[in-house]
Structure formats: C-alpha cells, structure tokens
C-alpha cells in the first residue's frame, strides 16, 4: 500500500474509477441489483463500504434499490445506486420521487444497447433522453458523463457535490465501453478536489423548522431522520411543512422551484472540455466513449493541418445550450458523434445559430463509433467524396 500522503495510482476499469470517485466524495450507503454492464460498481462497493463503516445492500429489484437509497439519504448519508438500461427504466418512478421530495442521491447508469433487453454486453448511449424525461411530469435533472477514468473519477465526485448542493438526484451517464475499459487512474489526495457536505439546518430544537422553505439562495437545509426536527416527506405537491397540498399557488411555486433551482445554476453545473478547438472550422461534439474516437481523429487531422476540434460534453442535462452555441459560432460544420439516433444532436441543432450545419456521426450497432466512421462523414461534408 502507498502511504496516504502519496497519490495512489491504479490500473482499473471505468466502473472501478466510479467507485473510487464515490468513496472519495464520501458515499456511505449503496443499494443495488445485479445488471450488466454496471455490476462491478455494486460488487466493489459491497467490499469497500463496510471497510469504512458504510452500508451495502443488494435489494430484491431495481425499484427497491432506488427506494432504499432515498430512505438512507434522509438519515443524512451520501447515497448511490448503479444500474444499466432496463434497470434505469425500472427506477424512474422513484427517481421522480427524489426530484419531488428533493432528496440528494446519485444514480450511475452504465449504458448498454436498448431498447428492452437490447444488447446487454455492448456499448450504447441511448439513454440520454431517458435521463432527462424518464420519470413522468415536469421536473429537472442533472446528468453528467465522462470519457476517461480520471474524468469518471472527478465527475463522480461532482455528482455527489451537485446532489447535495441542489438537493436533487444526479445521474451519471457512463457507457459500457468506458465502464469496462482498463486504464490508469491517479487518485487525488484528500482535499485536492472539493467535497460538498450536506447542508443541515441551524434551526435549534424547539423552534419550527420548515423543511421545504428555500433560503434566499434557493437552497434548503436538511434535517436528518432521527434528529429533533420531525417533518413529513411526500411525493405529493407539498407546502413548506412537507404536508400534501393541491393549493394552486403551492403547486405552481413548487414546480417552478424544482425547475428553476437547476436551470438558474446551469453555468455552475456545466462541465465540458475542449480538444484542438483553437480556430476549429469543423467541430465534433461528443461525450463518453464516443468522445475518445472524436479526440483521436481530431488530433490526427490537426497533425495534418486540418482545423478540426472536439467539444467534449461532460454535463448533458441541463443541456449547456448557450455554451454550445458560442463554441459552434462560425463553424463550417458541427458533427455530433454519439451512439444513438441523434439524441444530443437534437439538442445541438436547437442550440446553434445554424442548425443546417449540424450532422450526426453515429453508430448504433453495439460497436464503438470509430475515428474512421467519423472521418467518412467528414469527407462527405467537406466535399471530398466518400
């Protein structure tokens, strides 16, 4: 073992990098159910959590896993579950509950090919829109992603921080290729990355605590179950006491609060990286494992003098439309590289000044989109033939 003052270097899977990030962020409770290709997250936390007094439980199904982490979060713990395609579908109602009741929690979805059982052992990125709209009703959500293990680690830390800051479920949209790929991870020293702890109320015992009355900055301090403030938590529209209400004013204000608390902080939430973007005439927008191919191509073409850059998205929801518009301004063409039928492309088209210059370089056959897949489309767009 390396001493604690030194950085630890590991050669591991992406799913393990996610686990390391979660532990660094302070995860204390995990509930899950076996599903490919995310199972390693559960397996690893089953061993690691009790080593530090945390709790792991394998529940009877995906729904129960999601419910259990919400329950545990209310006792003051940082909580997480992990799943893939079908499991993500099953969790949706309880994710909506966590949105409505404003319970901090992190859900890792290591994406595979869908719909239905689909392509369990192969890569896909088809859950982009499900992450946004999988649960019913208007709501808001944060979804983050990453293309390499160092970023999987840090974005997982970000996910826990944002869950606490905004009192919301945060979804980690990884994919099978990143999840199972092995590469180097340098674990930062304690204190190197910021950690957001739970904001707890300062209202003393005996004084009324309003669990759902936002402070001026929009944040809602929490009180742990078992503490001296007893309050109601419900998935119904509720007043500042947490008690059910169908008063139109209460309903209107709560729904707007749920949407605004995230939309109003889009700049603080937005995460992205630029690769070879200086003076780029052709921009590849990508994320997750697809971004690795896009970056590879851009670096190769740059070496040959072509002005190609990659805008790598690390936050998908709320979609950073303004940032994308600014980065794509003046580009000859924007290629969205993803492994679905254009779910992020639709967002990019809606964001940019010239949607007619946005193209889709996708692959949906369970194979990783390759640099040559992208190059072929690029050649057509550039008028250089197939």
């Amino acid at each position: 073992m390396t001493s604690k003052s030194k950085k630890e270097i590991k050669f591991i899977q992406g799913n393990e990098a996610c686990v390391e990030g979660a532990l660094y962020a302070g995860v204390e409770f995990f509930a899950g159910y076996p599903i490919t290709p995310s199972t390693e997250i559960a397996e690893l936390l089953a061993g690691r959590l009790p080593e530090q007094g945390g709790k792991f439980i394998q529940m009877e199904d995906e729904i129960a896993s999601m419910c259990a982490i919400v329950g545990a979060s209310l006792t003051g713990r940082k909580v997480m579950t992990a799943t893939s395609g079908p499991g993500f579908s099953l969790k949706q109602e309880a994710i909506g509950y966590a949105c409505m009741a404003e319970i901090p929690c992190v859900i890792a979805n290591v994406q595979r090919g869908g719909p239905s059982t689909g392509n369990p052992t192969h890569v896909g990125q088809g859950d982009i829109n499900q992450a946004r709209w999988g649960t019913h009703g208007d709501h808001n959500i944060i979804a983050l992603t990453a293309s390499n293990h160092q970023d999987v680690f840090s974005i997982t830390v970000d996910a826990f921080n944002m869950a606490e800051t905004y009192r919301t479920p945060v979804i980690l949209l990884f994919d099978e290729a990143v999840g199972h790929l092995r590469e180097k991870l340098v674990i930062p020293e304690a204190g190197e990355l910021p950690i957001v702890d739970r904001l707890r109320t300062s209202v003393p015992k005996g004084v009324d605590y309003y669990p759902y009355l936002p402070r001026e900055d929009g944040r809602l301090p929490m009180s742990d179950f078992g503490g001296h403030h007893r309050y109601n938590v419900t998935g119904l529209f509720h007043d500042m006491w947490g008690f059910p209400s169908n008063n139109p004013k209460v309903v209107n204000e709560l729904l707007r609060h749920l949407v605004d608390k995230i939309d109003n902080n889009i700049q603080a939430i937005t995460r992205y990286k630029e690769h070879c973007m200086e003076g780029a005439e052709y921009i590849l927008i990508s994320y997750g494992s697809s971004a690795r191919s896009a970056i590879h191509l851009a670096q190769n073409r740059r070496a040959k003098g072509e002005k190609i850059g990659v805008l790598e998205l690390q936050s998908i929801w709320p979609f950073p439309a303004q940032m994308v518009r600014e980065k794509c301004r003046g580009a000859k063409a924007v290629l969205v590289v993803e492994m679905n039928m254009g779910q992020v492309m639709a967002q990019v088209k809606a964001a940019v000044d010239e949607p007619g210059r946005v193209f889709l370089a996708n692959r949906i056959d369970g194979k990783l989109v390759t640099p040559s897949d992208i190059k072929q489309l690029l050649r057509v767009i550039q008028g250089r033939g197939v």
Binding site: E28, L74, T75, A94, R230, Y231, N232, L236
Partner: protein, 268 residues
Amino acid sequence: MAVKEYLRERFFPHMWCPGCGHGTVLNSLLRAIEELGLDKNDIVMTSGIGCSARISGYVDFHSLHTIHGRALAFATGVKLSKPDLKLLVPMGDGDALAIGGNHFIHAARRNIDITAIIMNNRIYGMTGGQFSPLSGPGKKATTAPYLTIDNAFDTVELAKAAGATFVARSTTYHAKECTELLKQAISHKGFSVVEILSQCPTHYGRKNKEGDAVQMMEGYKNNTAKLGSKALEDKPSLIARGIFVDVERPEYCQEYDKIIARAMKEEV
C-alpha cells in the same frame, strides 16, 4: 405523554371517510407507542400510496410518504442506514401485497427489524373500489362487475412462509387487542407483521352488502375467533386472531454489523 401529543393537529381533519376503520388502527397504534414509552424522535413511519398510507402525515414522527407499494423498500434504506430508529410501515392490502408484494416477502426473508401493519379492507379505496389481492373470489368491485374470480392471499400464511419472525392478526373491532399485538410487534427484534382487518364501508361494504361500518365491525366480532379458543375449535372456518409466529432469528442490521466488523478486521 398523552396520545394527542403523537398527532400533528395542524394536518387535521384527516381524509378518511366516515366509518372507515383506519382511524381505529391509528388509535390503537398510538396507544401502543404511548404504552411502550417510545420517543417520537426515534420513530420513522414510512408509507406508500392509498387511504392507509395517509396515516403517516397525521403522526408527529419522522414521516416518509412514498410511492405505491414501495414503503418497505424505503424503510429498509432508513433502517439499515440508522438501525437505532424504529420503523413503522402501515400499508393497505393492495399496497402491501399486490404492487408491493415483492418487497413484503423480501423484507420478511431478511428479517429486518421493521413493523409492517397491513390495514386490510379488501379493496382499493382511494381509487374508488377496485378488487385487491385480498378481496377473494365472489366479491363485487368496480373492476369486477361480474364478481371476482381471483383467489386471495392469506397474509398470515404468506408472512410465515416468507420468514417473518412475528406475525399477528386482529380487527378494528378488537381495538385493545390491536394495541397489545402492536406493542409486541414493535418490541419484537426482527420483521413483524400485524394484519388488521379494517372496514371500508364506502367501497367494499356497500357493494358487497356487508352493511355500514357498525355492521361490518359486528362481522369482525362474529366471524373471527382467538387462536386456541374453543370458538375456533368448534368452527374452524372463523378467521383466527392472535399471534401466529413469535420466534427469534438473526436480525438483518445486526448481521450487517458483523460484516462491518469482518471487513474492518481484514483491513488491519
């Protein structure tokens, strides 16, 4: 502490129909808690969806009103995370044994220290009177205009088979008996189940010609008998009341503490 102290008066009046048995269950439960002398801060009441589930809003405990059928899954998260808390999970028959059936049998299998209270009115009341997995065959419901053909679960047998370590049954007619059973269930270390037959005169009684609330409660008096009683021996077709299971088995959270001890030891 007076029973009234356990209520959130601010949230009254309650939403139950006149004659509903659920208020009697709440009464019995609060008296059990009072007699046990439990601290309000130590109790978490977790419920799902339905008439029964609204009980959690009216009590001055930590209360978690969740989604349909999943109360036990939420409760499992609360309990494992903070095992010192007392978990009370009131559920309706549909909530507990239709949509929530999987969580019910698995909570029982784990023997996690949670008290499940099944308020069995044999109907989906909140949605207007559809048959439930406890209605049984030959009943009238809005979704069974030609009478039900579905068989009913026997809650007690199901709980026993799934591994619950305390299983009891009573009715709203026997409110004091309910209090006694609930006291024992709450004090029991492990997964405890108390089924309480609770009348729904609005949606079940009327349709099935079982009369108003008083007549339905008389039915509970006449059609049930205590376990081990002469009445039950003479007429085994009566519904048995009392404690069916009361055994000690390793409790889940305590077992998990052993896992932590093992994991920490390996680290050294």
